[in-house]
């Protein structure tokens, strides 16, 4: 993979203002949801982004696509800068970069037919001139995601959760995008349905040459589907490495704790494991801890961890980590 990366993220931050007062609102602080993220995604790659709720992974995904304006930093998708693009260029980015959402119940308009939901992006981007052409394309897309093309006039409530997620996937690939942000696409689904949707995402990736940012909290599934994995904690990236490197040789104490908390479906192995059980909860991102944001819960924290922010550095080939204690 020597080509230029498809997606380049440089020092991306997204802060949401915290206000007080009802009529006269004063800004009293900021939720630092995403702070200074830098990474790249190669063409055809699946980058996993994991972390606990509130760690900023969804915000990062949305800011990446320009759905939230970035506070600082820059995102380039296939040569187009998301923050500077306007008009036609913005439309091009919107066509090339799509999103699949977590909740297959909330992300489809219940009053629209499947046909109108999937053809909406085709209409918005003027990709096909006539209604007949669009209908033919929708039927083709339905078949690609494993649904019956004759169900084009049905409504979302007539489908099961797994089928609805397939509709969401069909809508996302309708514009022939290069890059898709998958925001927890399987966490609302039952185990026997999850595998079906994951395999579909992989098939489409092979067939259409897609690049994915796969946001999830299920670390087992992330190991299965992703090429590289980024671990987030309280808005910052703790560690980024290739899949097997991260799971077999985690360097950041947070990654180690997170991996040791994942249940393993094997009683002998699960019970023999050494667990790192973190104390306390994830602190508030409004006033995140000083220095390293993980230091109040870190089992190996030293005094200097509370003083200075650890640098984001490449400690081994393609293995990035932000921790003072990692040599």
């Amino acid at each position: 993979m020597t080509d230029a990366p498809l997606v380049r993220v440089e020092h991306l931050s997204k802060h949401f203002p915290v206000t007080r007062g009802i009529l006269i609102q004063r800004v009293t602080g900021a939720v630092r949801a995403v702070d200074d993220l830098s990474f790249t995604i190669q063409k055809g790659e699946t980058l996993g982004m994991v972390g606990e709720s509130g760690c900023g992974k969804t915000t990062a995904g949305r800011t990446l696509l320009g759905l939230y304006p970035a506070t600082t930093g820059k995102v380039t998708i296939d040569g187009h800068c998301v923050q500077q693009a306007k008009g036609k260029e913005m439309l091009t980015i919107r066509r090339k970069a799509q999103m699949i959402f977590q909740d297959p119940y909330a992300s489809l308009n219940p009053r629209w037919t499947v046909g109108s939901i999937i053809s909406e992006p085709l209409r918005v981007h003027h990709l096909l001139a006539t209604a007949a052409e669009r209908a033919a394309r929708v039927q083709e897309l339905l078949e690609m995601v494993g649904l019956n093309a004759r169900h084009i006039n049905r409504f979302p409530h007539e489908f099961s959760g797994g089928q609805r997620q397939r509709i969401g996937i069909a809508r996302a690939i309708a514009t022939q995008p290069a890059f898709i942000v998958c925001d927890e696409p399987i966490s609302a689904l039952d185990v026997s349905i999850q595998a079906q949707v994951v395999n579909l995402l992989e098939e489409l990736q092979d067939r259409l040459g897609l690049t994915y940012l796969f946001i999830a909290h299920d670390l087992s599934m992330v190991r299965h589907i992703c090429d590289r994995v980024a671990v987030m904690y309280l808005g910052v990236m703790a560690e980024l490495a290739t899949r097997d490197d991260l799971y077999e040789n985690p360097l950041h104490p947070y990654t180690q704790a997170l991996l040791s908390a994942v249940p393993i479906p094997d009683p002998t192995r699960d019970r023999a494991r050494q667990r790192v059980i973190l104390t306390g909860d994830v602190p508030s991102p409004i006033n995140p801890p000083s220095g390293c944001r993980f230091h109040p819960r870190c089992p190996i924290a030293k005094p200097h961890c509370a003083q200075s922010v650890p640098a984001w550095r490449e400690v081994a080939a393609s293995h990035w980590v932000a921790c003072h204690e990692v040599k």
Partner: protein
Amino acid sequence: MSVNQHLLNVIDLKTRFYTPEGTVYAVNGVSFNVAHGETLAVVGESGCGKSVTMMSILRLIPTPPGKIVSGQVLFNNEDLLKLSEEKMEHVRGKEIAMIFQDPMTSLNPVLSVGRQLTETLRTHTHMDAAQARTRAAELLQWVGIPQAGNRLGDFPHQFSGGMRQRVMIAIALACTPDLLIADEPTTALDVTIQAQIIDLVKHLKQEMGMAIIWITHDLGVVAGMADRVIVMYAGFIVEQADVYALFDGALHPYTLALMEALPRADRRRAQKLKTIRGAPPSLLMEPRGCPFAPRCEFVHERCIQENPTLLEQAPRHLAACWVNVLTGELRP
């Protein structure tokens, strides 16, 4: 094995819901038991009847539309389905306690945590207000809430998700029940908080020795804490075994398929995930034949005609299947 060794013995429980769309066959003749001090895990996907079974045991099924059609729930040899409502209220909370998936909706948002704890204590024991308050503070500290004494006046929204689940556990265990029913108590929590809660429950169980029924859809959690496992599908128990036996060699095609559909964090990727074709059946039809037959890779003609009963196919290992999954042939 005589019946009276068991703390709980459920026999042929059937629960249905009569809705405008038709009859929902939610629980279809479920029988199992729980020994004193045992941890039994109940696994299955949404709609498999695992929660309805537990609600039926505690007689918390809204009637109408729901109805327990038949069966016995013997708790300490007494049939809970025949008790008066008054006696049942004594069983709930005192002898059998329950914790739920979402601690925000199962705690009362307008009552302080201390009030909710003391209410349980004063209903079921003879403590006066001051004693109950002291005990409540002890309980909160016992489940790992920092500065417990100062937090009795706090309301549920002032606690994080993990802390709320700890409060729920404190309320549930306040009267030292013999049986704790936990309905997906860690599903809404992050993995690191899930690990804390599982650790806490294991620790409390060692101290108190109560039996636990732990409902979950996560086979990983099952592997970590259960003694015995029940697998449910479409309102039936399809497999029942010791936890090690189940993970060593499941005998029902559904259990096998579930395990193979699961990626693992401790292993390198070998191949594409195996999938289970189709989707779980609608419970609106009276079950005929094996409920898993339409999705089963071992399916035979007999499976479509006749629903297999749950039989012991290896020592203490029960499965409801006509097929030997090792050979793919019908059992003699």
